[in-house]
Symmetry: C2
Subunit: 254 residues, 2 copies
């Protein structure tokens, strides 16, 4: 096991358990305490955790946990599965809108398989990786850079969208409750809504663990989306209402 795997594993433990013990980690990974110290220092410096005497914690609920760098570490298998399912909706030559978020970043990379494409995005990770890919016309949306979501937002973004038209928009969301999707941030909601307006078709990407959660702002009714892709069935109680409303979920499997 090498360094990055170990750090990833530490983050996984931390996300599960909210706290980890230094001695325990040294033991578990069979390395010296000093090495774990250094791992935790790095991860703390990257803003992923907080060191405390004898170990480290995530501060519940707050910025830490919702930071894009943590989300990028989580569930990358599920994200790849969903990205592959989303690929079925895309044909070469299309214009594709991609929103912020690490799910979207995965999707961006997967889309190289469908070149040539025009990609429109406010997602900094997508802009970085797709910039030099031949066969991809990349249109950045601009806006004020937001480090928390690693993307660009604001009037510049929304206004740029009002002048563009795409074949399909992929929208991701951290929370679905009942028949609505939610997001905690105002500016993010506005950018996603502008994208939905600018696209002929819309597709929602949502991790199955996010069903049954809500957040401050309503993003959209599920019925607004032409398709909804998830990586597994939501809990029966969450599913009931969705089925009753006649909304169909595409469950991406291995």
């Amino acid at each position: 096991m090498k360094r990055e795997e170990r750090r990833q594993a530490i983050m996984d433990l931390l996300v599960q358990a909210r706290a980890v013990d230094l001695d325990d980690l040294a033991d578990r990974f069979a390395v010296s305490k000093m090495t774990i110290h250094r791992d935790l220092d790095e991860l703390e410096h990257a803003g992923l955790l907080r060191k405390v005497r004898g170990g480290a914690t995530i501060e519940a609920g707050t910025q830490f946990e919702s930071d894009f760098r943590i989300r990028a570490l989580q569930d990358s298998v599920a994200k790849d599965r969903m990205a592959r399912a989303a690929l079925d909706l895309v044909e070469p030559g299309m214009t594709v809108l991609i929103n912020d978020g690490s799910m979207a970043a995965h999707l961006g990379e997967a889309l190289t398989a469908k070149r040539p494409l025009t990609l429109i995005t406010n997602n900094a990770a997508v802009i970085d990786t797709m910039r030099d890919v031949p066969g991809i016309t990349l249109i950045a949306l601009g806006g004020i850079f937001n480090a928390k979501f690693n993307a660009f937002f604001g009037v510049v973004t929304e206004h740029a969208l009002s002048r563009l038209r795409a074949d399909i928009a992929f929208i991701s969301s951290p929370a679905v409750a009942g028949l609505q999707a939610f997001h905690m941030d105002d500016a993010v909601v506005r950018s996603k809504r502008s994208m939905m307006t600018a696209a002929a078709k819309t597709c929602l990407l949502i991790n199955h663990s996010r069903f049954g959660r809500s957040a401050l702002h309503v993003l959209a009714d599920l019925a607004e989306f032409d398709s909804i892709i998830t990586d597994g069935a939501p809990a029966p109680e969450d599913r009931a209402a969705i089925d009753r409303a006649g909304i169909r979920l595409t469950i991406a499997k291995e």
Copy 2:
């Protein structure tokens, strides 16, 4: 001397002499021919030169020479000097517009000294480096990514600019002849003009070796700029007309 220095030196030689000899390079840097082969392969792969039997060349005039990656290698001393001179025009708290080009990228980095600032740019290099700098509010302009100029252009860019207002715009240009600045690319000219309109003051940054050159499109009359910064005096014949018109150059010196 280490690898990157050697490669940089090869590019310098190449820019001067248009062609280099493989045996000669191996000799000069006291390394094996194989090492030079590998250097040239790398540089060719990066699009910076063309390998020919026994050495390498730059293809005159064409894309090769005008590629931003080559320009970024040239004259970085002069660029730093000019950037430092430009700093005098900026105070903390201002909103600064930065255009495409490697000169502008240098300026971007230098501007950290004047934080807090709002930076508006279509320059991918600036977006990359300034994104995570605390005290810098970064507004990306968006647009279609252009790999040749490593920046974003088009209606999205121009339209975003029409809705923004900056204290000062720094404009760079590859050619000044008579009393006008020029640029070879249409879309680039439009973005620069939009920036000039969006800013209260404008400053032209121009390498002294670029006086006496012209290009397809007129970018602006020199008289339109509030200040013009260069790294050395232009040749007397070029200078005469400028002086006669009463235009003042700021010559950045060590």
